[in-house]
Amino acid sequence: SLRCVLAGGAWVRGLLGWVRPERWLASSSLFPLSCIHTSTSLQKLGKWEKKNRIVYPPQLPGEPRRPAEIHHCRRDIKYSKDKMWYLAKLIKGMSIDQALAQLEFNDKKGAKVIKEVLLEAQEMAVRNHNVEFKSNLHIAESMTGRGRYAKRIRYHGKGMFGIMKIVRCHYFVKLVEGPPPPPEPRRTGFDQAKEYVQQLRSRTLVNTL
């Protein structure tokens, strides 16, 4: 439904909590009947989700404006964290429009997931975090983490078996208001040589006059 698409992933999980029995059995194993009322308030909020809750004291008149920061994540994506890392590395430091463009024409499975996460985060930024222009955001941090793995049996021939891991990952993104910072100039050989000479020159003799 349209509401489910626009709302955050955690809200959807709470609404359709009954669809995934293993999830609500894990959260409230003592009273199975109370799982019907599963919502985000009962699920443990991760550290990344809590970062959106910090409130700074009001800024003094002379201070430069603090750019808005939006933390968003999606948990337990059915994808490998190593494969997701390449996509996270691709969009690090880009503006949100450029990141969405790159992800739209990337053929990887994680690209579709990250695109959804970025759109959700952009929507959250405009609605809740007082961001004026939805294009005026850039990706400050984008990381992947290991999700909860499940072990299953993989059947081979001749009665042999192997144990395979069902691999899942989390994806974290931090959007910051403002244009993307200019990329750092590559460290050339000349810079390295200059630093080396500087290091040599700054040496002193110890235990002497």
Binding site: D82, Y86, L87, K89, L90, A101, Q102, E104, F105, N106
Partner: protein
């Protein structure tokens, strides 16, 4: 003389006694003459235990079995450290390249690759084509009924022109889309 080991001790004892009597009889009979040319062999219906043949010569001729060839297979000597693994996984050849061939479609404003049709516009055209094909299917009413004349699609409020003489007319009950130019 061939001595054959019999598994049954009683039979062996009996045979030894018989054999002894035979020898004495033979020797007494031929004491004056030459030694008997023939050597009586004991025919025993008993399993014969042959010594195990040496297999070394046989094996060297065969191809080495899988168990031997494992010794010659390539195997890693040391565990690859995470630093080495990172160098391999993160070097620029393995990172995803940034695409520079993304443009904006002038028709709908969505993103498109320069050498590829716009996905949104293509989906639009595909949907309309599907509706036209459904109309054609309704008109034909079955397979192998395609006429041998051209087809013209007319939308709301359009009349067939002079050029459309003799062509099959397909009616679509909607306004003509802006991208479907009328000839």
């Amino acid at each position: 003389l061939v001595l054959v080991f019999s598994p049954l001790p009683r039979l062996r004892g009996l045979l030894q006694r018989c054999w002894g009597r035979l020898e004495r009889d033979v020797l007494s009979g031929l004491s004056g003459g030459q030694s008997p040319p023939w050597g009586p062999a004991l025919a025993v219906q008993a399993p014969v235990f042959l010594p195990q043949p040496v297999n070394d010569t046989g094996e060297s001729n065969e191809a080495p079995s899988l168990l031997d060839s494992i010794l010659w297979m390539a195997a890693p000597k040391k565990r690859r450290t995470i630093e080495v693994n990172r160098c391999r996984r993160r070097n620029p050849q393995k990172l995803i390249k940034v695409k520079t061939n993304i443009d904006v479609c002038p028709e709908c404003g969505n993103l498109k690759q320069k050498h590829v049709l716009c996905g949104y516009c293509y989906a639009k055209v595909k949907a309309e084509t599907r509706m036209i094909r459904m109309e054609i299917r309704k008109k034909e009413g079955g397979p192998f009924n395609a006429p041998t004349v051209e087809t013209v699609v007319l939308y709301d409020g359009e009349k067939p022109t002079v050029k459309d003489e003799g062509k099959r007319i397909i009616e679509r009950a909607r306004k003509r889309p802006s991208w479907f130019v009328q000839n």
